[in-house]
């Protein structure tokens, strides 16, 4: 009560003005952040792509010996369909996986059979070979459309932006993106769930492929599991000619 009495009308006005100013400032930083994400999106390639990559999955991030490696030829049609063919390891050479919004199909060269796999939840690893990358992490959507942004800091050569998922089915509560001011390149993404900071994606070794800056190495460190997955891109071709056959569940294995 004493506290309330001490607040004079002029003081209340000051507080109200300050609150409005803060809200305006917050909105301004939100707009600026959203604009930065739009700029990042605009520098991402569109259309079909062809990437040959190696994925090294470390069950224990601190144990370099405990790893499994896959070399994969991956095609994307620019929508939600992705085709992967395993080049290594040798025992599953020729295994193919087609994934789209509805389901996934696996072709086993060892038996010649194709099995349909039910749709995965967003938070799950990509067919088990994705290591610490989930479907959502690899989703090809636009950052500015999928997340509402708030600028956390713009000190030094990077921006730190908090992204809150717009879609209700996201497995994350929020993301913190670190973006280089020079070139609007993503440097890292921290993923937060209800249980806290669960994963960190680090993007390194940027090279220009078909005019697009492309991180040739991506490391996803899973803090809750103690594991990490390193993706190394060997060749990246954007705006590639990719046959529709690869994205057809009845023909992708032929």
């Amino acid at each position: 009560m004493k506290e309330m009495k001490r607040r004079t009308p002029s003081r209340r006005v000051t507080i109200a003005v300050a609150t409005v100013l803060l809200l305006l400032a917050a909105n301004a930083t939100g707009e600026e952040a959203q604009e930065i994400l739009r700029e990042v999106d605009s520098r991402q390639p569109t259309g079909a792509s062809r990437i040959e990559l190696t994925m090294a999955v470390y069950r224990d991030a601190g144990d370099e010996a405990a790893t499994r490696e896959f070399r994969v030829q991956s095609y994307s049609n620019g929508d939600a369909s992705t085709y992967m063919e395993f080049l290594e390891p040798r025992s599953i050479r020729g295994m193919r996986i087609l994934s789209n919004d509805e389901a996934s199909w696996v072709f086993f060269p060892s038996t010649g059979r194709v099995r349909k796999i039910a749709g995965e939840s967003q938070g799950q690893s990509v067919q088990g070979v994705g290591g610490d990358f989930s479907y959502e992490d690899l989703g090809g959507g636009k950052l500015a459309e999928d997340y509402s942004a708030r600028l956390l800091s713009d000190d030094g050569p990077t921006w730190r932006i908090e992204g809150t998922p717009v879609k209700a089915d996201s497995s994350y509560k929020r993301l913190i993106l670190t973006i280089q001011k020079h070139g609007y390149r993503l440097e890292s993404i921290e993923y937060y769930t209800d249980s806290g900071h669960t994963k960190t994606l680090t993007l390194e070794n940027y090279e220009t492929a078909d005019g697009y800056p492309t991180a040739m190495q991506m490391t996803m460190t899973n803090h809750s599991e103690g594991s990490k997955t390193v993706v190394q891109n060997h060749s990246v071709v954007y705006r590639a000619e990719v046959s529709d056959q690869y994205f057809n569940p009845r023909r992708f294995y032929r």
Partner: protein, 932 residues
Amino acid sequence: MRVQTRIPKRAAAFVLRNRVWIISVGGLLAAGGLFLGTGIAMQSQAKDMMPPGTPAVREFERIEDAFGSTATVVVAVEGPSDHTMIQVAERIAGAAAQDPVVASGSRPITVEIDRDFVREWGLLLQPAEDLRPLVDRYRRTDLLSFIRGMNDSFEGEYLSGDGQEKLDSDREADEAVDIMTTVEHFVIDLREYLQSPAPTTATSLGRSLADTFTLGESYTFDPEHRMLLFSVAPTFPIEELDRATEFVQSLRAITNEAALSYPGTTVYLAGDMVQTVDEQEALSADLLIPGLLAVGLIFVLFLFSFRQVRSMLFALVTLIAGICIEIGIIALSLGELNLLTSSFAVVLIGLGIDFGIHIVSNYTDYRSEGKDSAAALAATYRKAGVAVIIGGVTTSIAFFVLMVSSNRAITQFGLVAGTGILTVLISMLVLLPALVTTFESKAPTIHPRRPVLSYGFLPKIGQAVVRRRWMVLGLAAAVTAMLAFQVPKLTFIYNALKIGPQDAPSITAQNRIVEVFALSPYPSLALVDSIDQARSLSDRLSDHRLTAEVSSIADLVAPAEEQRERLQIIGEMRSEGRRYADLTWDADQVEEFAYEVQRLEWNLIEIADLSVAGLGEGNRIQKKRDRMVREIIGAEVGEPGDEVFQKLIAAVQAPEAQTAEALNQLDAVFAPRMSENISDLVAVDRPIGVADIPDSLRRDLVAQDGSGFLVTSYPTDAVDREDLVVRYVEEVTAIDSRITGTLPISIAMSVNTLAEAQSASLYALAAIAVILLLTFRSLRYALLSLVSLAVGIVWLFGLAPVLGVSVDLVSMMVLPLIIGIGTAFSVHLIERYRVEGDIETALRYSGKAILLSALTTIIGFGSLAFAGSMAAAVSLGMLLVLGVGAGLVVTVTVLPPLLSLESKPTAFRQDSASQAVLEYTTPSEDGKENRA
């Protein structure tokens, strides 16, 4: 008469007057020490060496109180077939029941799993999600429906939905391999039956297949059925070592006899009790064999270094007598030896013989000058006695400082080594002169037939390094800097289980079990207060990536709500009527059966393909598939496998085979037996409680008074790696601070010992620095001594990683010893330099003593490095060889140039005590005295 002359003279007179008494009393004390030594207990368990308040030790003791003895003997049987392994196991159990030692010292041995319990409660132990598919699968029990259901189950569980996620841990891989092995046995047995069908075979095969598929395995096999395990639970604690030794020996005799009776089988004994017994033997061997080797080698060294070998033999006899007396002191004071203190004999051999060298050398020299025994002994006491006393007391102080540690093992080591050095020192000062003067030859040997080394190269080395001092110092600085960069690479073995006897039978057994079962035999344990706590902790431990298996009461007693859900599903199964028709197999059904076998092969091939995603190339599932079927490289075929499915299909489709009739015979037994078993399984209609669990299971899960529950978590075999075991312990103890067990205690002890050893070494260094200042009364010389010591330590810890030598909690204890020895080397040289005024002369007179001291110490500890059976003893020996070797090289090559940097040595004080420190004489080639 001056004090420094009077006391040695009186001491010599006393020894000469009472030498018979001294020898008699010395002999009696040595014999008494040996007799008392037989009662010394060997404490090889890590927990016995820890401070009592340590959380891991406290929790372990709580578990011991709640469950009685936690000792276990694991029996592992390897053999050519399941049948043979079972026969061997049953034979061992039968013989053990008849053996008075084993039967009276253990609970009744159960080789077979309690199938009545499984039959009564088995379904209620399954999670609801695993029960639901069974509603359909248990609807039809004929063979064709069964194999079709099995295929549906594989495709549903592993090859659709989020199936792939189920194969990304060792535990899931084990489960999959276990299922594949069951399928393999089913397919092979079926083929053998179809190739020669007989009604009796149909009956036994039909029953065993139905029992396996409904009730599971009756014995504990590894997933690939290479090994059968069962345990023997002693009713007495490991601390009763004599009884434990007799128990293990009796059990070994039984298992050896059983293995010999069945060719091609091997039986292993492992577990904490067997390991403790093996460690006792190794500890005893490390006291004896390396000790004898060291004595022999030192004798050979003396043979070629001294003219009066007989006197050196007396020095060895005195050394042994001193060690025996120390054994008596240990028996009376501590009554026990542990991993650290067990190496005391070798420590005393390495250090004690140095005292003898000084006494004997001086005495024989004075005698060769023509002095009588009394005068020669008095001169020896005066010239060498004080030096020996200072050296011995300095080193014993370094060890006594260890007693300030809170770590019981380190405190005991400090006491044993400190008193041991003093005991040997007194023996060398009193008993050795008594022996030498009593049994000396009338005329000293001036020219023995054997060659005697003059060690004349030492002054030449001194001359050379001083002449090129800047080059030598630069080189030494470069080497030191280079080795300093290697020091961080030094590895510390935290896992105390790795420093025991590595070739002991129990360790071989343990390694084989680890290899086959892919899990560590050292579980983490936690005593919790309720079933809910047990469940919560089990779940959290199961999620840990380095956990292979967790067991607790929660596996058997699910929450009430979950049990209700399970009972409801089981009720649905119960309402089914008859589960099989009187099926008559015809050609179509045989063809369909062949297709289902082919489908089974495809499913297992694809499951193995998918396992690569979560488990990597060459995982256990893939290897099993490659052996069962064939090696598969994408669309191509690699090495051939057993082709179990194709062989069955060939047998099913063989034109001459009466497959339909044979399957009719088999199904007439299989289907009703399956139905009968299922009826038993679905009869359960009430929740299970703790009281329903048979004693054979309950005694490992529930405290004797029912007040607590034990959670047991076996880590994967990955924790065998040193870099992972520490992290594993840190992470699981962070999950619950009550977690204890052999690994947590072992790591806690290593961490504690490392910290204590580091601080103890600093205390020892400080004590020695004070002694150096008091002895030299010169800051410069004290610093020079400390610098050469520091260089030697850098060389030691830089060379160790280069040579692949690691440090552990036992070998860490050599640091105070190396500090003591290294200091003694530099003290001898510096003091002699101050007397002689030049390095060459100093090395001529003190070099031989330093070199022989170093060589005897290197031989003493080197014997441990090469003949020790405990890994810790080997590491300790290697470190001391390196440490003393480095100290010797630094003293002979680096210290002389440092000393020569001053134009003239600081004036030597005419102090009798310090004069005695530096007086060391060595005869010249013509047998005359060489003395400044």
